[in-house]
């Protein structure tokens, strides 16, 4: 059975369309990623699927229940880790978990057992009785992931689970997420604007931009769309004749020029580099640097949207600060 089914889901805020007729479905047990820049509509999608926001139109189904009609059944079937911490910092970790399990109607004994289980899953047993305001960012995230699991959810939503964490902590969180998905067979929907994260974790990725899904497949297949390797050359001089020449060559699959960097995709790139340099010399363009790599999701994003995800971040200003201090 599909854990998630979304058809033409749309959310409009006044005249701004945050999510624009998206459709996808996620089979049970999958680790599914929504990848896109800030403001693409990922969080809005999660908020609609977790019953916090009412869709403008379209339908969404979670664990077999409709998000509009059967809110409580949906709420019982999901665990959510929000982008910004949703912990009571004046309570201890254990008290936060206790609060959650009582809200979800767990009995006393089951509660104690579950809390120990999830605490050990995220290695927080030692810190369970410390006030959350004393926790680091990574510990808060782990506690929230633990909390999201207490009531045996069928589907776990993780909204930017590693936002604002350092590289090492991010690795740890990734490992926990993977472990969960494999050992506990929980369906996980994860949003991220980190390419590596989607690539490393997700079975399938939907690339979302301006509220629309522009591509959806496994990271591997998405990268295959580009056709081989990415070769970039830093050039100087008039590039126009060179571009014309390269476009006429059958093996150059795609080609773009940004700020003196010519980026092409082709198969067996390493064998083509000498030829590329020759062509450049013939066209009177000097090459100062050549780089060859396997394509990343970043390239896939560029391919489908014409922009890099980092451009988008710049446009949207600096990232939202994480609250969670004080109170």
């Amino acid at each position: 059975m599909d854990a998630i089914r979304v058809e033409n889901l749309t959310k409009r805020f006044n005249d701004f369309t945050a999510v624009d007729h998206i459709s996808f479905s996620v089979p049970g047990g999958e680790l599914f990623g929504l990848l896109g820049p800030n403001g693409a509509g990922k969080t809005t999608t999660i908020n609609m699927l977790s019953t916090l926001l009412k869709p403008t139109s379209g339908r969404g189904e979670v664990a077999g229940f409709e998000v509009l009609k059967d809110k409580d059944a949906v709420r019982r079937s999901i665990g959510v880790v929000f982008q910004e911490p949703a912990l009571d910092t004046k309570l201890t970790g254990r008290e936060n978990l206790d609060f959650h399990s009582m809200m979800y109607g767990l009995g006393k004994e089951e509660r104690h057992r579950r809390i120990e289980d999830v605490l050990s899953l995220v290695d927080l047993q030692d810190k369970a009785d410390v006030l959350v305001e004393k926790y680091s960012g990574g510990m808060k995230r782990r506690l929230e992931i633990a909390r999201g699991l207490i009531h045996w959810p069928k589907v776990l939503f993780l909204d930017e689970p590693t936002l604002g964490l350092d590289a090492q902590t991010r690795r740890h969180i990734w490992d926990y997420i993977k472990k969960l998905n494999i050992e506990k067979k929980v369906t996980i929907i994860l949003t991220t604007h980190y390419m590596e994260e989607a690539d490393y974790l997700c079975g399938r990725v939907a690339i979302i931009d301006h509220g629309k899904i522009v591509a959806l497949d496994s990271p591997h297949k998405l990268k295959d769309v580009l056709g081989g390797d990415v070769v970039s050359m830093e050039i100087e001089g008039n590039a126009a004749p060179l571009l014309e020449q390269l476009k006429s060559m059958g093996w150059v699959k795609s080609l773009s020029l940004r700020e003196d960097v010519l980026r092409m995709t082709m198969e067996k790139g390493e064998r083509r580099i000498p030829e590329l340099i020759q062509e450049a010399q013939k066209a009177g363009v000097s090459v100062s640097c050549v780089n060859l790599r396997k394509p990343s999701l970043e390239d896939v994003f560029l391919h489908f949207t014409g922009r890099t995800i980092r451009d988008e971040d710049g446009q949207n200003g600096r990232r939202r600060m994480m609250p969670g201090h004080g109170r």
């Binding site: 977790s50 019953t51 409580d72 949703a86 912990l87 009582m102 809200m103 979800y104 109607g105 109170r327």
Partner: protein, 256 residues
């Protein structure tokens, strides 16, 4: 599904208690203002003849129920508005995404806010007694407790309504200056309402706190504009209405 989930009410209450007991500075801070009012207004005006006071009641005696009402007004409204802090710090989402009905959440909030406001109220009453305020009898104290309870429920409801309508803390000072202070000054907490112009006195009839404080004076001092039974009946109606509107507003508010 059950209309009221007692576990949910209990766990929300428990959370509020834990937070309250851990915030010692908050308790002291909340007691400071009413006690300063009581001390300075009481001392400053004690020798003055306030027109409208009946002979055997001096100003301090008159003031204590008023300050008690003030303290309940402020702590309850803040208690209701504390949903805004939860919204600000993200915790509201954790509550809203849980499979529990919104009525239980509102009642849990009220249970928590009520307990903390009442504890503060009783502390002020206790200090007033130490300072020389005389409570007539034990039944009078019990009735006063009932009046205090109704005041807190009413204004917790009001705070919750504002918290549901407002999206962030921006409107907080507007609510303070244009709602809470007028409620306070119109209630007759500091002076007998009979001294105010008639047009303003009419407004005070729409102010729930007017009946709350009058009721408190009635049971604690035996001096009031209306019979305490009438005051308490009116307060009870206000509190029920406020809770219903608060539950409705909270249900309608989106938190994402």
């Amino acid at each position: 599904m059950k209309l009221v989930n007692t576990t949910v009410v209990y766990v929300l209450w428990l959370r509020e208690m834990k937070r309250f007991l851990r915030a010692k500075s908050r308790i002291i801070g909340s007691l400071a203002m009413p006690l300063f009012f009581l001390a300075f207004l009481g001392m400053g005006f004690n020798r003055m003849a306030v027109p409208g006071l009946s002979g055997n009641v001096n100003y301090i005696q008159f003031l204590v129920p008023g300050i008690l009402g003030m303290s309940l007004l402020f702590s309850s409204t803040f208690g209701g508005l504390s949903v805004l802090w939860d919204r600000e710090f993200g915790f509201l989402k954790e509550i809203m995404v849980a499979p529990v009905n919104r009525v239980s959440i509102v009642l849990g909030r009220i249970a928590g806010g009520m307990t903390t406001a009442l504890i503060q109220g009783l502390m002020i009453l206790g200090i007033s007694v130490i300072l020389g305020f005389k409570v007539r009898s034990l039944p009078a104290l019990a009735l006063a407790l009932a009046a205090m309870l109704l005041i807190t429920i009413t204004f917790l409801g009001l705070g919750l309504i504002f918290a549901s309508v407002m999206k962030d803390m921006q409107g907080f000072s507007i609510v303070m200056n244009f709602v809470i202070f007028p409620i306070f000054f119109l209630s007759g907490a500091l002076y007998p309402m009979e001294n105010l112009p008639k047009a303003i006195r009419v407004l005070s009839y729409a102010d729930p706190l007017t009946y709350g404080i009058d009721g408190l004076r009635g049971v604690l001092l035996g001096v009031s504009s209306r019979s305490p039974a009438v005051d308490i009946a009116i307060m009870a109606s206000f509190s029920i209405a406020m809770v219903l509107v608060a539950a409705y507003a909270f249900e309608k508010s989106e938190c994402a």
